[in-house]
């Protein structure tokens, strides 16, 4: 009798604990599902194997690539929900971790239905997840359809912003140099700088007069801290690749000849030897350091893109006037380069998750169309994000106002200049870029010769192209 009672009691306790455990687990599960959702209670998500279904009307879940504008995207999401009633959430990947974040987010039940790929190479990785967007209005609005990421007849990535990079210079310092009595270069206006030769003459003479000009070096630090070398291994390395592809009339290649290796060396050496920082110490410098050096007037030039304006403007103690921030093309000593413009292109392509429910796919496309066509959407795009868009829905007056974007537009609209396209979207892999960056760093430290750097460039390109096939 007593035993039976005890047994029943025990069983009761076991059940109680089991229930508690299950509740606990269920609780954890729910929390995970809701993480990053913000305040939106997004019920009714279920599904398996990465396919997800959502509420009938669909919702937008954007995985944002640009950490610098995460707050703006949150704000925009709220606006969009207010205006249309469609739920929208935005999650931002930390700097340099977009692929990682996307990989884990897209495998979840509550996966992003709007994300971005970085070009043809990125598309190869995500092709199972990219929806064909050829029937969307967005594709129809594109000024130049060749910019989109295509595969066969399908369109899988639509660029949403055109960016440009070059050598950003401080006009005020340059003018002070031109006014110097004992300057040797014989050049008296920026317009005269139209080739590597003239650029070099001016830069080297400026270095000779750096005390008089009150600068520590002409160029800001060639940053080589971990993860901070993309301006060289990606952006600058684009130039020799661009010219080689141009000569051969191709857009991608399994191997490179690097016929323009010397030109790459020209400009890289110019950066190194006329810099704020000793070459051996560059391993500690970040992009932020370089931008700060420029903003504080310690350097007269820095290689970066129009997105850098935000960084320059944000530095406290900034002495550079908005009207003095201008662009020069990156001259490397290639024949006919007086007709070379800035490096203009994009590596930001919107893609819609093909494994999302149909309602969600539609919601994502609707959002994109709203963003690039409605008054409010366009206002965000031009005024807040400062995007130069590749769409025809924008009027002449609806262009971004920041000085560097203005410069990019000025160069693009100059019919005498040819823009350098972004061929680094065809660079084989991150591993390739990392290895090239490491080789360049060793070159700055004097531990590798330029020939060895070029060997790394050529061999790793071939190796990585082979490995990803």
């Amino acid at each position: 009798m007593k035993q039976e009672k005890q047994q029943r009691k025990r069983r009761g306790i076991v059940w109680l604990c089991l229930c508690l455990a299950i509740m606990l687990l269920a609780g954890c599960g729910k929390k995970e599902e809701g993480s990053g959702t913000g305040e939106s209670g997004n019920g009714g998500t279920n599904g398996s194997n990465g396919e997800n279904t959502s509420t009938a009307s669909g919702r937008v879940f954007y995985l944002n690539f640009k950490p610098e504008s995460s707050e703006l995207w949150e704000e925009l999401a709220k606006q969009y929900t207010e205006e249309t009633g469609v739920e929208m959430k935005v999650q931002t990947a930390a700097s340099g971790t977009y692929e990682q974040t996307l990989k884990s987010e897209i495998a979840k039940k509550d996966a992003p239905n709007l994300f971005q790929i970085n070009g043809p190479v990125g598309y190869q990785n995500w092709k199972n997840y990219c929806l064909d967007l050829s029937d969307t209005k967005l594709y129809g609005w594109m000024l130049d359809n060749t910019l989109a990421v295509t595969d066969g007849d399908g369109v899988y990535g639509i660029p949403y912003v055109v960016e440009g990079y070059g050598i950003i210079y401080n006009k005020e310092i340059l003018e002070r140099y031109f006014d110097l009595d004992d300057q040797q270069s014989g050049i008296s206006t920026v317009e005269e700088i139209q080739s590597f030769e003239t650029l070099k003459a001016v830069v080297e003479d400026m270095t000779a007069h750096k005390e008089a000009l009150g600068i520590d070096g002409v160029f800001a630090s060639t940053s080589f801290a971990q993860g901070e070398d993309w301006r060289w291994q990606t952006h600058l390395a684009n130039l020799p690749v661009y010219y080689e592809f141009r000569d051969k009339g191709i857009g991608d290649a399994d191997t490179l000849d690097l016929t323009y290796a010397e030109n790459f060396k020209n400009i890289f050496d110019l950066y190194l030897h006329n810099s704020v920082t000793e070459p051996a110490m560059l391993g500690n410098k970040s992009v932020n350091d370089s931008m700060a050096e420029f903003a504080l007037g310690r350097a007269a030039m820095v290689q970066n893109g129009n997105w850098g304006w935000e960084q320059i403007a944000k530095v406290s103690g900034n002495v550079v006037a908005e009207t003095d921030v201008k662009f020069l093309p990156i001259y490397t000593g290639v024949e006919g380069e007086e007709k070379q413009g800035l490096c203009v292109g994009t590596e930001n392509f919107f893609a819609v998750n093909s494994r999302a429910s149909e309602a969600d796919q539609k919601a994502a496309i609707d959002f994109l169309e709203w963003l690039f066509q409605s008054e409010k959407g366009k206002q965000y795009v031009t005024e807040k994000f400062g995007f130069i868009t590749p769409f025809n829905t924008f009027e002449e007056s609806e262009k971004p106002q920041d000085p560097l974007a203005q410069e990019v537009i000025r160069y693009m609209e100059n019919p005498n200049l040819t823009a350098v396209s972004w061929n680094f979207t065809a660079f084989p892999s991150q591993t390739f870029k990392d290895k090239l960056g490491a080789a360049l760093l060793e070159y700055t430290q004097g531990r590798k010769s330029w020939e060895e750097v070029i060997d790394v460039f050529r061999n790793e390109w071939a190796e990585e192209k082979r490995q990803i096939q």
């Binding site: 990785n125 993860g227 760093l441 990803i468």
Partner: protein
Amino acid sequence: MPGTIKKYFPVFVLPTLLAFFLAFFLPFLMGIWLSFCNFTTVVDAEWVGIRNYVRAFSNEDFLRALWFTIRFTVVSVVSINLAAFLLALLLTRGIKGTNLFRTVFFMPNLIGGIVLGYIWMLILNGILAKFGVSLTYDPRYGFWGLVILMNWQMIGYMMIIYIAGIQNVPTELQEAAKMDGATGMQRLRYVTVPMVMPSITICLFLTLTNSFKLFDQNLALTNGAPSGQTTMLALDIYNTFYGRIGWEGVGQAKAVIFFIIVAIISFTQLVLTRRREVES
């Protein structure tokens, strides 16, 4: 009493077991399966057989990282345990301020690896700047930087374990040895060390596995620079996974190999040191 424990076994163990199964065992099995697959995301995999393993072993970076890791582990296990043991001996002698010293030495262990890595990067770069170089200049700098960092972080923790062990050595034994005329060195060699063998087992295990699977500190301090010559195994796996398109499976295969290596080494070590433990 044993009966009661048996009765309530499921109540207390089941929730943990369930959590362990879901959060550890299942992903582990999935990981092994994925190492034979080509995949972009973990729910979307395609079987490719042992191709990933072939690629992993023919990958120079992997072998170089393995060699670097082994060298690092040997050096840091020896240096950490020696230093920790000496500190523990010193701080069980009743010196004034013992408690303060123990706390101070233990503190580095409370700081996360990434933070430590960045702080030491600044310190070491600051020192090296005097000689006109930086940490990324030579792989040797990165190697010794990592050893210093690891020592600084782990010595305090190991010291606490050794202190606990030394304090548990019965005073009768020490006194008896003294009576018999044993010198300080002899007492250390024949009384203290055999008696703290269990602590040594634990400390060796912890330092060995921690050094072998070091990631945060490596990422923050050198991130493999120059040219991947200071990349350790865990970082190499991470780089493989995200560095190349279509190489996720290879990263996974490397991770499985890594697991097997760590398991073999730490089990051998456990068995070897266990044998030398004595009952008091």
